[in-house]
């Protein structure tokens, strides 16, 4: 099948609901309409309103009821309409979903998936453009996954649904329909916790994820045209992070840049730089560098270009590190 990223998510939900009737899918506008992005399109018609339904307009209820369902034997796959609206549900995610296994020493567990479209560049209203992956990654007990292609979206979502612990599944909405790709109809998973080396290279390691993978690759293509050999890694899982792949790569290349859409300070790049520092310090030939937005509030559409790293900015910073 040739599918876009959003179609791959719909297909994965359909695929898994077909083989496991403990899966229930819900969220705001998720049932009848199929979600504001149509990620759950057709699922209510196919599986009935008990398995795919419109939640009440309340994020804490969406997450909190999912916790109860998961404890009592179901596998809820819930949608938060935009990650910027997850804060009323954040309390349930952090204080309960992430902790139930530990609090009951394994008696009760919360195998649920919380899907959220995230990220900027879609010319949206306030609270529709945030990249909040570190808030979840900093919470023990959660796993945090971000696909960057239709193929990965299916494989990672199936892995997330089958995972015995709560998984935050962040979907880069800017590339929901940006391109299509062959997605097998068969069952496959992409293991959570494994980064993917998109392209081997010897001169520098660049790590990115989500919508910025494509922009970063464009910058790298330009550099390759100039004769540089760059290794590009798609992190795919923010937590638990794949330290091994990153450290091995930087030990080989001696240079490291991370490109991300979350604000710079205390962001995911800081963690990656620590990993590089701890695991490849003596191999470094240039200061590890972050290409990330400034620590400002994501501006509304007319000012958003000041926030997101552009291909040109990425290219510029990568070249600086290569020529250090």
């Amino acid at each position: 099948m040739i599918l876009s990223l959003i179609e791959a998510i719909t297909h994965a939900l359909d695929f898994e609901m077909g083989r496991d009737d403990t899966i229930v899918v819900y969220g705001e506008d998720v049932g009848f309409e199929g979600g504001v992005f149509r990620a759950t399109k057709g699922l209510q018609a196919k599986y009935g309103p008990e398995r795919c339904f419109d939640s009440i307009l309340a994020e804490s209820s969406i997450v909190g009821s999912g916790i109860g369902m998961a404890i009592n034997g179901l596998k809820p796959v819930v949608e938060i309409q935009f990650s910027g609206f997850m804060f009323p549900g954040f309390n349930q995610i952090v204080t309960h979903a992430a902790r139930m296994r530990n609090r009951s020493r394994g008696l009760y567990t919360v195998p649920m998936v919380i899907r959220m479209p995230y990220g900027g560049g879609v010319r949206a209203l306030e609270h529709h453009s945030e990249s909040l992956e570190v808030l979840f990654a900093h919470t023990a007990g959660l796993k945090v996954v971000i696909p960057s292609t239709p193929y990965d979206a299916k494989g990672l979502l199936l892995a997330a649904i089958r995972d015995p612990d709560p998984v935050i599944f962040l979907e880069p909405k800017r590339i929901y329909r940006a391109f299509k790709q062959e997605v097998p109809e068969d069952d496959y998973i992409i293991p959570i916790g494994k980064a993917k080396i998109l392209k081997q290279g010897n001169d520098m390691t660049v790590v990115s994820w989500g919508a910025l993978v494509r922009d970063t690759q464009k910058a790298i293509d330009k550099l390759e045209g100039e004769g540089y050999s760059v290794e590009h890694i798609d992190l795919r899982t923010i937590s638990p992070i794949d330290k091994e792949t990153i450290i091995n790569s930087v030990q080989k290349t001696g240079r490291f840049v991370v490109v991300h859409e979350a604000a710079k300070s205390f962001g995911p790049g800081a963690e990656l730089m620590s990993i590089v520092n701890e695991g490849a310090f003596l191999h470094l030939e240039a200061p590890p560098t972050r290409v990330a937005p400034p620590d400002i509030i994501v501006p509304l559409p007319k000012g958003e270009h000041h926030y997101l790293p552009s291909v040109d900015h990425i290219y510029l910073e990568l070249k600086k590190v290569l020529t250090f």
Binding site: I67, M69, L74, T109, G141
Partner: protein
Amino acid sequence: MFLELYDPLKDNMIQIMNPEGEIVKPEWMPELSDEDILQMYQTMVYGRIIDQKVLQFQRQGRILTYAPNLGQEAAQVGSAFAMDPNDWVASAFRELGVWLHRKAPLYNILLYWYGNETGMKMPESVRILPVSVPIASQLQHATGLAYAARYKGENSVAIGYVGDGGTSQGDFHEALNFAGVADLPNVFIVQNNQFAISTRRAVQTKVKNIAQKALAYGIPGIQVDGNDIFAMYAVTKEAIERARNGGGPTLIEAYTYRLGAHTTADDPTVYRDEEEVKAWEKKDPIDRLYKYLINKNLWDEEKDKAYRQERETYVKDEFKKVENSPEVTLEEVFDYIYKERTPLLQEEYETIKRRNEEVK
């Protein structure tokens, strides 16, 4: 019966037995055997003894923070008595009587308050979610438990407990709203003990009684004398059976009083006077049932003394076991974050272990 009869706007609380232990509404008296009533009494007394002993242990510096239940025993035991063994409970942290009625081992309960999560690894048959500290958040879990129960055709009801302060939380509203619109098999029990730590019920909400809040969710709300175990049992029973038969959720306000402190870290003399407490002591739920039992010749002073002594010894013995329980290992605190330790956690585990060895 009660749910049709009661109008929360009229503000008249359901009572079957008055503070003198007299049955004032014989036509409402639920069907209970003498053995049941004795068991109710003994469970309440048992809970009171646990509270009193643990407060002693706390003053002796043998246990850390504890939230006592003094005065709320009937609200807890009466409602728990109305449940089936396969019903679920989403509790907060002041529901000792519910835990005891569901046969949660005292060792586990004490181990938890002693500061060890392993206490919350209860036998599966207890079916109470672990102590939930963030106020009212557990009511959301009750809706999910109920949804799953109905989905699986389990025929069980999920009962959520919360306090009067908890009714101010958004989670209270969301849970009742969802349960109402989805007709979930839920019962929500507000233990209105008049205080959220020091903040009085009147500061919390302008409604005359908390049962009225149910009207906004299109579900029945009913205020019950929470110190009358028969009323608590009868009303909860009706609400649970209604939920079990597809009738949807009910909100029950158990009107009671916290005779003790919020927790051992709280000093209630700062915010309330002795007279108020004394007035409520006259309505004590345990004394009330004791009087009933004496009048019915079902119990006597001697039996009472013997029972209390036997329980005191048991509580002391169990607490000694807790004091001698195995220390929390480094493995334990790492092994329940995820089903399997992630490579990162494994690395961090080894780091702490190495440091422990190096500083030896």
